[in-house]
Structures are given as C-alpha cells and as structure tokens.
Symmetry: C2
Subunit: 171 residues, 2 copies
DNA sequence: CTTTGACATGTCAAGGTAGACAGGTAACAC
DNA sequence: GTGTTACCTGTCTACCTTGACATGTCAAAG
C-alpha cells in the first residue's frame, strides 16, 4: 500500500493537513505516484483509526492538521526496508509498441507531440533544479529525485529524436 | 482503457490465443503495461461480445484463436490518435523521495539493491537487442521500444551511482 | 505407465484508483 | 457589498488490477 506509506512519509517530515498533502502529491509526487484528494482524505481517516497518525490541531475553514505517531514512524521505516515492486505502467509509451500500425506521418506526429510534453516537463524540472537547496536531508532527497527527472526527460528527448530518424529513414 | 487496446494492437498483427497474448504481455509489454491472464480472458470475451474481435479457430486443449475484425482495427487506429495520458506510477522510485528518512547506510543499501535490479534489466534488454531484426514495421517498433529500455536502464544506473556519491559525501 | 511441466482457459473476492458530485469558508479586489 | 478565487473536507460509483482458486489437456522423459 504505497499511498498509505507516502502519506506517512510526508507526515514524518512535519504535521500537515489533507489539503497540503494533496498539493504535495500534485507538485512533487505526481510523477511517481499520483493521488487525488478523494483517495487521500479516506486514507487519512484510516491511518488515524489505526493509530499511525493523529489529528493534533484544527484551524479555520475546517482545517485538520495531522501528525505522525511513533507507531506511524515505525511503519514507514519498516516499509522503506521492504523490497519494492518494480512494476510500472506507462500509457504513453505503450503506444510505441503499436507505432508500426500507424502511417509513418502519424507516427512522426505522435512523436512530435510527445516531444512537446517532455520538453515541458524538462523545463519544469530544470526550473525547480535552479532553486537553491537548503542543507537538509529532506531537500537533498528531493534534489536526487529531481535530478532523475531531468535525466529521464533528456534521455527521452534524445530517444525521441533518434526514433524519428529511424522512421524517416525507413519511409 | 489500455488493456483493451493493447489486446487489439497485438491481434492486429496476427490471430492469437489468450494464452499467447498473456505470454506476450509477460515478455514484452511487461515493462509498460503488465497484465495477467485473469484480466486478459474476460477482456477477450468482452471484445468479442462487442464485435471488435472474433474467435476464428479452435485447437487442442481448448485453445481459442481470436482475430481482429474491421471494427476492431478501426478502434485501435482511433485509439492511437487519441492524446495519451502521461501519468505513471513507480513504486520503487517513490522510495527515493523518502531516502532522507533512512540512515545513510540504509539508503546506500537500498540504492545498491536497486542497482542489481537495473543491471539485470539492462542485461536482459541488451541480450534482446543483439537478436537480428527482420525488416518489418512491427520488428522496428519493437526495436525502438527496446532501445528505450536500454537507455532507461543505463541512465538509471548512472543516476544511481551519482546519488550514492552524494549520500556518501554528505555523511 | 506415470509423473512432471508446459499448455490452455476460466472465475472470484478484495482492494486500489479516477472522476464526478457535494458543500462550506476566508481573503481580496473592485 | 459582491463576486471571484483559493482554501478545505468529504462521499460515492464505476472501473481496473491483483492474487488465489479451479480445472483440464497433451507431450516427453524416465
């Protein structure tokens, strides 16, 4: 159950509200683990019922601040030591397997649209990478992940250019 | 619905049985779209009920061979032109965001285990890439996907080595 | 002959996820 | 004052996915 543990991981850093957690998923975890508020709120309730987090404050607009409990911290730490599963699902890349069904022009058009997506992602990541890094473990871990994002998008763009050349040459 | 369209894409190439489709998912689509037989058989029944595929033969051991219909072919082609969704979910990489929660030794150990996984994948992909490519569109598309796999794993290994250096230096 | 392993097809329950539906609050600009 | 926007929390249904359960066939090795 990765959503559960991601929430615990984010709460291990500091107390947060469901709304803040939702935004964090959108901003930084989106590329590895998308989650919407409709999943997050019920999960927070379950974590709370299981004693892994606790509501420690409330604020205006019905805000509820949750903090991790010692039991919750044990749970994330244990999860971090379990063998991760390496399955991924990539709906965009799936189409590459079926590129041969398309007319060459359509395949090129597809790759060009993909290129735009990856260029946008790359710019986004590079912009984030320019921000200064405070010397905390948390910031460093985030920076490592971000650097992977930059590498991934750059490599994807190179592959894309190469794939297009292959298709052009075969036409 | 990607499973549905992947099945149609594979059947666009040639008639196949559910068992063969299951093996194809295991062998080549595993890294972008895992699917088990328990998903595939019911989906084939649905595709058949919708007239997108048709059982065109049967063999020993209860074997059922399905072929794509003109309607099914239209459906895949249309799907290939729709805007793909770019969400991915990567349970292994998710842990990188929480690397800071681990002791440096544990983080290094985690990255070392990941390295083994990626080295194994890389070898697998490189071995496949050495096989001769017949000059068909299908084989070329498969080759493009495979090449991405090789690039991805190589980049991941480089990132991994770099990330370990960063952690070592901070220790 | 018998056993093992690959071939081959299916169902079912439990759990995860996406997207729509729903409702209320504070800040700020005009 | 009023409208808009961001804040904030929830539910529900339909669908997808996983893993276990279930069943039977054929070929080849011993």
């Amino acid at each position: 159950m990765s959503l559960r543990h991601s929430l615990l991981g984010l709460l291990a850093e500091q107390p947060r509200t469901g709304y803040e957690l939702t935004r964090l998923f959108d901003e930084s975890l989106l590329n590895v683990w998308p989650a919407s508020h409709s999943q997050i709120y019920p999960e927070l309730a379950r974590l709370s019922a299981d004693g892994l987090i606790r509501q420690t404050a409330s604020g205006s607009r019905g805000k509820k601040v949750y903090s991790i409990t010692p039991g919750g911290l044990d749970e994330v730490m244990a999860w971090l030591k379990t063998e991760p599963d390496h399955s991924t699902r990539n709906p965009a890349f799936l189409r590459v397997f079926f590129l041969w069904l398309m007319e060459p022009e359509d395949a090129i058009a597809f790759l060009e649209r993909e290129e735009l997506e990856h260029e946008a992602k790359l710019s986004e990541f590079e912009a984030k990478a320019e921000l200064p890094v405070r010397d905390t473990s948390r910031e460093w871990a985030f920076r490592l992940a971000l650097d992977w994002g930059v590498r991934y998008e750059r490599e994807m763009l190179e592959w894309n250019a190469w794939a297009r050349r292959v298709i052009e040459e075969r036409r």
